[in-house]
Subunit: 174 residues, 2 copies
């Protein structure tokens, strides 16, 4: 059975929406996804707000109750009948995220057992046939096939194969 | 550069000592390592105490401030000059352990960056040349060479190579 490793943030969990919401809460301006095309949050906010954005990621609760990326549950459930599924997230960078990410997985992907959740940093440690991720840097050193999941920050990157949403993942792998 | 994945509990962190201490605290009997040869804790305690032993592992603080297994720091530091080192621990089974394990690594193995710590369940996801672990079940599906680290519970198991301490790891890999 072939194995698919799947990233969390920006692939199954909507981390961008969380930053947009918190930024609006703190600075009364709602950043649009259009503004973010090909950029990081740091690029579109005032220089004096950048520290706050970085702080969000290390704030307890940032990773709690994030919205689920559309169709990810249904497509991954179907994929799990044909492939072995692991969720592989670079949680080590954000220790406040550990328990929230674990609880989030239990709540939204109950069909994925705890044995198949991985918190890591450098994803070259992952042994799988495919890695679906929004950060192409994780494909470096990964011995399987990287599949780039579109997120505003990576729209100008060249990578094949690229998928724009979970329906395209289904078309590629099912 | 070849890569070594190293388990935490019973390989670099002395989880047995923690159980022995807590059991003595709660039931006024100190279990010896001799009694534990070839057995699990469950086998050597009264049947009515078994639930408590299982509870320990899920208790916040169980994984905090564990003693370091002798020579592991020095030998792993030397290994890190010749190999890429990842610490790979099945923390997913015990969510209360996440932060304590992370802090423990920072305190006792500061030369191992957060990018090289992995919390997982099924270790077949690990891509490495060697896996040093006290549980041979983790070698199933692992594509590299499993190296069994002796712990009281595994003394009657047959596995080659086996190492009895960190000096033997040094002799094998340095």
């Amino acid at each position: 059975m072939k194995r698919i490793a799947i990233d969390m943030d920006e692939v199954i969990a909507d981390a961008y929406l969380r930053i947009i919401d918190w930024y609006e809460r703190d600075f009364s301006r709602r950043i649009s996804l259009e503004e973010l095309q090909g950029k990081s949050f740091i690029d579109v906010v005032l220089p004096e707000h950048r520290g706050k954005i970085r702080e969000y990621l290390h704030t307890d609760g940032f990773f709690k109750d994030m919205a689920v990326i559309p169709d990810s549950q249904e497509v991954i459930f179907e994929l799990s009948k044909k492939y072995e599924i692991f969720i592989t997230t670079a949680a080590m960078e954000f220790p406040t995220s550990f328990v929230h990410k674990y609880e989030w997985m239990k709540a939204h992907f109950p069909f994925i057992p705890w044995t198949h959740i991985v918190f890591c940093g450098d994803k070259s440690i992952i042994h799988a046939d495919y890695l679906i991720d929004d950060r192409s840097r994780h494909f470096k050193g990964f011995t399987g096939q990287g599949i780039l999941f579109t997120s505003p920050h990576n729209v100008h990157e060249t990578w094949t194969p690229r998928v724009n949403n979970w329906q395209e993942v289904a078309a590629l792998l099912l």
